[in-house]
Structures are given as structure tokens and as C-alpha cells.
Symmetry: C2
Subunit: 246 residues, 2 copies
């Protein structure tokens, strides 16, 4: 892990860009974080649109985390931003767009092709990032995972024991295989659902919530489309991490 | 409205029992409430089990309201507690129990007979209580409605303009007619759903949430049965009132 730049944001929050091999990433730490007072970490998931495009929303979430006493970090997803394209993923996206334009149902094979290779490649990368981040003296567990591609969050919740709690955003196409993985999730979950999400089939999201094996899980549905999560719902998600990462 | 007794609870909260005609009720006011600093009021709905039986849960909710700076009040439902029985309601309950014991589906006519007469009689009583309560110098609007029989909450939200926000508990049998009323609700709603509620059909609750006409509505689903609402969900509902009644 190599830090490539650093800047200071509001309230003494420190933002550092880094690379992990050839994967770019960002780390935000609150002013209070130090080797003698390390802070818990929240991994910020995001859709595969590139860190550059996602930056405004990511930094807002990082500042919220910092104000609650947590560090936040994220890495670029495979095939996104400045990383090499993944031709298979691009083909699956083209098929998805074609099906949606034609008003056809999106078949399981398109969803699988779109999501499963991304999950398979991304999850070990996020685990490597976790190795590198938790080696920094100013960071410690427990670790939370927040948002982004829900199938990545589900896989991480199953395979990565350092993640203690997750805020998941019900807003992606979910392969059938992920429903089976969901049954194996046991960490506390706080699931956000936008009731009128144009990019999300509501019943599938409710079914996925039902499938999660966690004894402690809650669903928070709000009005509006994909990016319309109200401030109060963001505040509730922040309080969930405060309850579970301290 | 006649006050019949008074006691002081924790943190200077004043509990007064009253009668409104022959309807018993309870009023809780925070220590801060006075004629020169009147406080908003939350009406505490409850299931038709009698105020005596419901008292422990009601007083807990009233103390939460008081700690947030709100007064809270409730009245006995028709046919409950020490009020005269309603033979038609008792017959409908017996039919409901019979159907449930026999493992038969609960027909619309049983649900209608169980709920609609209760709503028709209770709602004007709660409105009269509101008249009397808001005449007290230490109370003021806006008024919130919280919990209890959801069909009463829906009707009140439609017909009573002094109610500005409601926390509804998706946990009752809901007549078809109430779905039509739900479309006419326009105040902000915070709806609690117990995902595994033994006394509640989950899909019907989701459909009712979908039917509400309110632009601002949110659904908060938690694990567990009818009385298992977690503390964090109660805290969220309290914050909803703090956002909307101040």
C-alpha cells in the first residue's frame, strides 16, 4: 500500500489517496485517529461507476463516519474508473441495456454474468485492502461494510470475519446464488430500500432481506428513487454503526 | 374532562388520570410543560386489551415522549377495560378465534366486523379527547399519533387535521376499506413492522404501506414477534416525532 497524496478536509479529517498494487483507493481518518487511539474502520462500497464519479457521495459518507469517530476507506472496483476494462463485464452490461431497451425481462444468465465475476474478483481485493488498512497503527477493528453492490456486501459478510456489521443498499440485480449466500450471513445488518427505486425490483429486495440468516437485521424503506435516500435514513444507518462498532 | 388522580413519575413527569364523560384516560406531561411553555402532544394508541393491561407499555412510551419534550395521552377504547362490553365486537372476536383455531382463513367479513365498528366509535372519541386536551394551557399542537390499532390511526390521519405525523404499527387485521382510506393519508408516516409478527400477515402490511398516499413515509422492519420491537426501533420512532412535532 502506497500513499500517493494527502489533503485535509473539514474538521481535521485527513484524506489520503493510495494504491494497493494497481488498485487505487481512498482513506479518510478523523482528527482523533492516532497510533495511541486507533479508530474502527468502515469500508465504503459503491456501484461500479468509478471512484471519480462517486467521489462526492463517498466523501459525504466519509465525513459522516469521521464525525462519528470512524475511519472510512474504499477501493476502485475491477473494470471501473482507471482500472483495465473487463470485456466480459462490458458484454454483460450491453446485454442488460439491450434487454431493458427492448422491455424484455432481464434473465438470470445476464444477472449472473453481470454480478458474479465482479464479486469473485472484488471480494479478495477488498480483503487485501483490509489487510493493508488494519496494518496502519491509527486503524483497528471492528470493521463495518457500507453500501455499494449488495452482492459484494453479502459475500464479504460471509467470508470475512473481520467485518462485524453491514449497512446494505438493496439496489442491484441479485443473482440467485447470492440468495443462498445470504442465508449464511450472521452479522447484524441494516438494510436500506428505496421503495420506488427505478433500478431495483422491490419484491426481490424484500425476498433477499427475508433470506438473510442474521438474527439481528432491520429493513428501512423510504420513498423515492435510487439516489433519494433521505437524511434521516442516513442518520439511522450511522447510528447502527455507532451501536455495533464501538 | 375531569382529573381524577395525579402522581409524579421519574424526572418530574406528571401522570394524571381523567375521565371524559364515561371514558377513562391518562395524561403525562414533562416537568417543562406550563402555560407559558406549552408542549406538543402525542396520542398513544394501543390494542383493545384495556388500559390496565397496557399500562406498563404505555407509561414507558409516555416517559420516552416526556424525555423528548412531548406530552402524551391516551383513552380507553370502546368495549375495553372498565367500559361496557360491545356484544357485536365480542361476537366478532369469538368468530376470529374460532377461525384461527380451525386453521381457516380469516374472512373479510370477520375482519370488517372486528375492526370497522371499533374505528367508527373510537375515532370521534379520540377527537373529543383532543378537543379537551388541547384546551389545557400546558398543551399545544402539532399533535402526533403513535401505535395501536392501525385502522384507527389511518382514519384519524385522514379526518383529523390537528394530527401532523403518525407512527403506525403494522400489526392488526386491516379491512379492505382501510386500504382505500390509506390512499387519502398525506401526513408524514413512520411505519413499524415486526417481520415475524404472529398476529400479522406480512404481505398485507407491505401492501398497506404501499397504499399510503403520504409523500413522506418510511417502513422500519425488525426481527421478532408482535411485542419484540427493539430499543433502536423505538428510538428511531421517537426521533421521527422530534423531527415533525417541533
Amino acid at each position: 500500500m502506497h500513499f500517493t497524496s494527502e489533503q485535509h478536509l473539514a474538521d481535521g479529517v485527513r484524506e489520503r489517496a493510495f494504491t494497493l498494487g494497481d488498485i487505487p483507493g481512498l482513506l479518510w481518518t478523523p482528527a482523533s485517529a492516532s497510533a495511541s487511539a486507533p479508530v474502527p474502520l468502515i469500508l465504503l462500497g459503491h456501484p461500479p461507476l468509478g471512484l471519480g464519479k462517486m467521489y462526492p457521495r463517498l466523501v459525504a459518507r466519509a465525513l459522516q463516519a469521521a464525525s462519528d469517530g470512524f475511519a472510512a476507506a474504499t477501493i476502485e472496483l475491477p473494470g471501473s474508473g482507471d482500472r483495465p476494462r473487463l470485456p466480459a463485464l462490458d458484454r454483460a452490461r450491453a446485454e442488460l441495456r439491450g434487454a431493458m431497451r427492448a422491455g424484455e425481462p432481464v434473465g438470470d444468465e445476464i444477472v449472473d454474468a453481470l454480478v458474479l465475476p465482479l464479486v469473485d474478483q472484488a471480494v479478495p481485493e477488498w480483503q487485501s485492502a483490509l489487510d493493508a488498512l488494519l496494518a496502519l497503527p491509527e486503524l483497528r477493528g471492528p470493521v463495518g461494510f457500507s453500501g455499494g453492490v449488495i452482492s459484494i456486501g453479502v459475500r464479504l459478510a460471509v467470508v470475512e470475519p473481520r467485518i462485524s456489521a453491514a449497512v446494505l443498499f438493496a439496489g442491484s440485480l441479485v443473482p440467485r446464488a447470492v440468495f443462498d449466500e445470504a442465508r449464511r450471513v450472521s452479522i447484524p445488518l441494516h438494510v436500506l430500500l428505496q421503495w420506488d427505486d427505478e433500478g431495483n425490483e422491490r419484491q426481490a429486495s424484500l425476498d433477499l432481506f427475508d433470506a438473510f440468516g442474521s438474527r439481528e437485521k432491520s429493513l428501512h424503506a423510504n420513498m423515492g428513487g435510487h439516489t433519494g435516500v433521505p437524511q434521516s435514513a442516513g442518520d439511522e444507518a450511522a447510528r447502527f454503526f455507532t451501536r455495533h462498532l464501538n
